[in-house]
Symmetry: C2
Subunit: 273 residues, 2 copies
């Protein structure tokens, strides 16, 4: 169970003593973190609030500079399309965020500097583990080497995945990520332009395929071993065509939503809330 | 009755669609507007929230520049010590804010520019009128020609005060304000280094005297006509030594707190909420 799953009893009352957190994105109306995190803070009696901030890529630097000067603002969450750009706006970037090439959380340190970290992959792995699919020692194929796929790849490797195959149709993107990861996780990372899935324990969709009704499957489920877990990072719809196909074949599945709930827990730890 | 006086039933739930308002000050922990305004917004079903932002004078410009670039932020409230400095950060300043030399609210216009206005005096006058002390056609003495006194003086003159006497121990400050006001309200504004109160219908304390227990009275109540209303802008304590002395002499009094409740109403109108 994540902090989000506990019953909601209150939303925060804001006063002059309330500490601020801002979630940056463009667009912003679809974000779910404020609606999930604020009731958790209220339930814990934490005098803090997360507000959505709509900022374009062109204005990101000026907005972050302004936010950093707010003395009662302690942290930032970051979503599309700013996850890569914020790396340059932090004073310190964790190894995994640098490896993933993106960050989705920044916090103010006691000395006033700012540290960037990523929890996209962390939330995904926490969700897997809770569902009984610990990736330690497993063989995994991650399809999609963009921002989300990169973060998930790093988190899987940090969690002990024995062999990780990265798949992307863009050879340049695949090569860049492989060159970042292979020195840190020697002998554990391979790449492929097309999904090779007949030897994996876990197959992950980290592409946007499945968001829209007519999308093709990101990979076929027909060739998968019968024990292979099929995971999707897409949250809407909750059951994608990929998950449906895996379910119909009798394969274990892992939907996208638990990733977000577990990310909220990771944020709380990161911010010391 | 102001919007604030209605019973509180909810505080706002923040989601990705929530519009933002920020209250700027230094210090910030004492501010009361978020605690007053947010329950009003929630009760009305308005998807907007006011958050406190702690910003020093040195950082004000960078913070306001950042706030202006937030596409889902529609307005700012401003408190000590930024009320004068924000005038330079707006694209347009209302006549009364320019006359008062300070603003406490800025809003984003449909064309993306920002307008600054002041409601310190407006809230004060609304409170007076509701209490049955309409200043129209009256003779008034305002003691204290700082930010609050200036704003109150302008609002009283706009509300039809026939003769306004400004009192301050700082001749330079008094002279500056007099030179701003007298061309706009010809023949209605006079100044004095010391309180002259024997001919007034309303005497206003706009100095900080009364905030601390040992403070001397801002002016004596002994020479006041028996019908004269004594008003204080200090909110804490609710009953200042001045109001107590006036009450003991049998004079009608006007405390500071109603000014804030009425200001909330004025903010709601200004922001179109």
């Amino acid at each position: 169970m994540t902090a989000v799953d506990a019953p909601v009893t209150a939303v925060p009352a804001i006063s002059g003593t309330t500490r601020l957190y801002a979630l940056l994105g463009d667009p912003i109306t679809q974000v779910r973190a404020p609606g999930l995190l604020n009731p958790v803070l209220a339930r814990r009696g934490t005098d803090a609030v997360l507000v959505p901030v709509h900022v374009t890529a062109a204005d990101l630097e000026a907005v972050v500079r302004g936010l950093r000067q707010m003395a009662n603002l302690d942290g930032l969450l970051v979503t599309v399309p700013h996850k890569a750009a914020v790396l340059a706006l932090a004073d310190r970037v964790t190894d995994r965020a640098r490896l993933a090439g993106s960050a989705n959380a920044l916090r103010r340190e006691p000395d006033g500097t700012w540290t960037a970290d990523t929890f996209d992959g962390d939330g995904f792995v926490r969700g897997l583990v809770e569902a009984g699919h610990d990736p330690r020692g497993r063989r995994v194929c991650v399809v999609g080497a963009g921002g989300a796929g990169s973060a998930i790849a790093v988190a899987l490797l940090d969690a002990g995945t024995a062999a990780l195959r990265l798949v992307d149709t863009d050879p340049g993107r695949l090569d860049t990520l492989h060159r970042r990861l292979s020195p840190v996780y020697p002998g554990r990372v391979s790449t492929s332009a097309r999904p090779i899935l007949d030897d994996v324990d876990l197959a992950v969709n980290a592409t946007p395929l499945g968001l829209r009704p007519g999308d093709p499957l990101p990979f076929p489920v027909t060739g998968l071993p019968t024990h292979t877990v099929v995971a999707d990072i897409i949250m809407t719809p909750a059951e994608t065509a990929l998950l449906r196909a895996a379910y119909l074949r009798g394969l274990p599945t892992q939907p996208g939503l638990p990733m977000l709930g577990h990310q909220i827990d990771a944020y709380l730890e990161f911010f010391g809330l």
